[in-house]
Symmetry: C2
Subunit: 335 residues, 2 copies
């Protein structure tokens, strides 16, 4: 932490008041997703566990919160012209849906080998999808070209204060519904959800420890957190596709340093076991990244016995046949 | 209906007061399962749809309600001696769990080729499992032999007044939470859930039409309902294994005749499409039988546009790999 202190205020642009305002914007638009409990999970972990189910969010993941908040805050002139983003994942669909609801044209740069179901869903919400070949250009470079040519602002998937504030409403809902949490487990890719939830927890439940969870194979944020220096990974080979992001961002890194208490990592097998458990025992369709935080609990990567533990299940957008294929590689039994 | 009237009162042993009393017994023991809604489902059906999610019930299906209610009502002497049942499906696990909670020893006759996961789950709750070879003996014959030898009462999967009353609490919760339903869709195997829910609806929401849903390949209850004569099927080839029961029972048939408004049937493909939709779009793991009632809605087997429609998703106990295998046989796209 010392490397970045004294903190430049411009690196900390998101405060809890922004989360509160985002919640007001999302009220009646985003789903207030259910918090589920399970005697089986409690018995198995020795903890009292509360699962915040963002797979039931609109467009199937927490990403809708940040996307809608960011588009709501655009000046009127920009709303009419539209915005651009790049994503092959849940942010694409979330932006497309939010744009559709708010009447903001969205242009989304996606790799040409993105799953057809995701391309179809994004187009289905009315977005213009621009495909690119990963061998020829990066999405950032192509995105900047198009944004400049058309005069469009870019709303990136996580490194944006209004996106972070929107994601923080996930923890706000959970902490308002469940009192006295000792621990809150949040998955971490680019850190939008983690930083938004951590800053929210520090206001609403200052005694609650916030722990970010990454795949061991994509542990850039864990290393960045522990060293105070930004570490990166490149195309990490993890089933948690939402955590393949190269690093924390310039907005999210300082927030993570300031508000997160610890980071934990989990193996690929632990992620898959957690996902299988959620599907088979809890009847919840959760994608690999969505099962990250729960994997840390189930795998014992964090100390939880006797504690009240909040876990954010971040999304459920996964090809069912692909998931079944993954399950076939699950060694042994799950319990 | 005329064939059975004037109704013999002994054929109508279950009244709404029994459901109310069952609800009191289940309070704090059974899960009050969530009712979920979806803009996507509403848009697609033109109706306002409320899904009662019994896949989140303890042991993964509504069956726990009836099993626990029936065991609770046993005289003390019988509770100590224990009970016997036969089931290869959700009733087995439900009875085993209810017996475990109430300290009632349970003996469960299951086919030796039952899925190992179900055998393990049933034994895991502490039940004694007696395996039988389908080629050599029927489960009913073996069950009667053991029950007589040990002096155990039999709690069958559906044809029992206390089981029916317990299942009726599903509709009670839904109708208390959601007002002014026009239609309630309930799957039908042996008719325990359907008759319990129908008699409940006729008290709590007399204007609500209750429609039972069967696979077209296992339409015995539909034919029985329409003719007033009990029809049977034998080992129908349907993926909805909970609806492979040979016929309605002596308790459930008169209740269905009296309280149900209509029956509908759905194709195997419609069941599979509904199940896929629930998993992929709603992120809900529902078994084939659990998707029956929703299939009738999605497939247009019932008129629903402009109406408020309750749908009971009855359970979620399905082998994930088997489900994925089924999905591979789904022709075309789902929407």
């Amino acid at each position: 932490m010392q490397a970045l202190s004294p903190m430049d205020p411009s690196l900390l642009p998101v405060a809890y008041v922004d989360v509160e305002q985002a919640a007001a914007r999302l009220d009646g638009v985003a789903n207030r997703t259910p918090v589920m409990t399970s005697r089986t999970v409690d018995r198995r972990t020795g903890a009292t566990v509360f699962l915040k189910c963002e797979q039931f969010q609109r467009a199937g993941a927490f990403k809708f919160r940040g996307a809608y908040n960011a588009l709501s805050l655009l000046p009127e002139a920009q709303r009419q012209r539209g915005v651009l983003t790049f994503s092959s994942g849940n942010h694409a669909q979330a932006m497309a849906l939010a744009g559709d609801l708010l009447g903001v044209p969205t242009t989304i740069v996606m790799p040409e080998d993105a799953p057809s179901v995701k391309l179809a869903a994004t187009r289905g919400y009315g977005a213009e999808v621009v495909l690119y070949n990963k061998e020829e250009i990066t999405r950032e470079a192509l995105g900047r070209q198009i944004a400049e040519a058309r005069g469009l602002p870019i709303i990136p998937p996580y490194d944006h204060p209004h996106v972070v504030a929107g994601q923080g409403t996930t923890a706000k809902e959970l902490l308002e519904e469940v009192e006295d949490l000792d621990v809150l487990l949040v998955c971490c890719g680019g850190g939008g959800l983690l930083s938004g939830c951590a800053l929210t927890a520090k206001t609403l439940a200052p005694d609650c420890r916030v722990i970010g969870v990454e795949p061991a194979r994509a542990d850039d944020a864990t290393r960045s957190f522990r060293t105070g220096q930004l570490h990166t990974v490149h195309n990490p080979h993890t089933i948690a596709d939402g955590a393949r992001t190269p690093s924390l961002g310039t907005i999210t890194f300082p927030l993570v340093l300031q508000h997160v208490d610890a980071m934990a990592t989990v193996s690929e097998e632990a992620i898959l076991r957690a996902m299988f458990f959620l599907w088979e025992r809890m009847k919840l369709v959760v994608e690999p990244t969505g099962a990250l935080a729960f994997a840390a609990l189930l795998d014992g990567a964090v100390e939880a016995a006797g504690q009240r533990v909040g876990v954010i299940l971040s999304g459920g957008n996964v090809d069912l046949r692909h998931a079944a294929h993954l399950f076939q590689h699950l060694p042994g039994k799950t319990d």
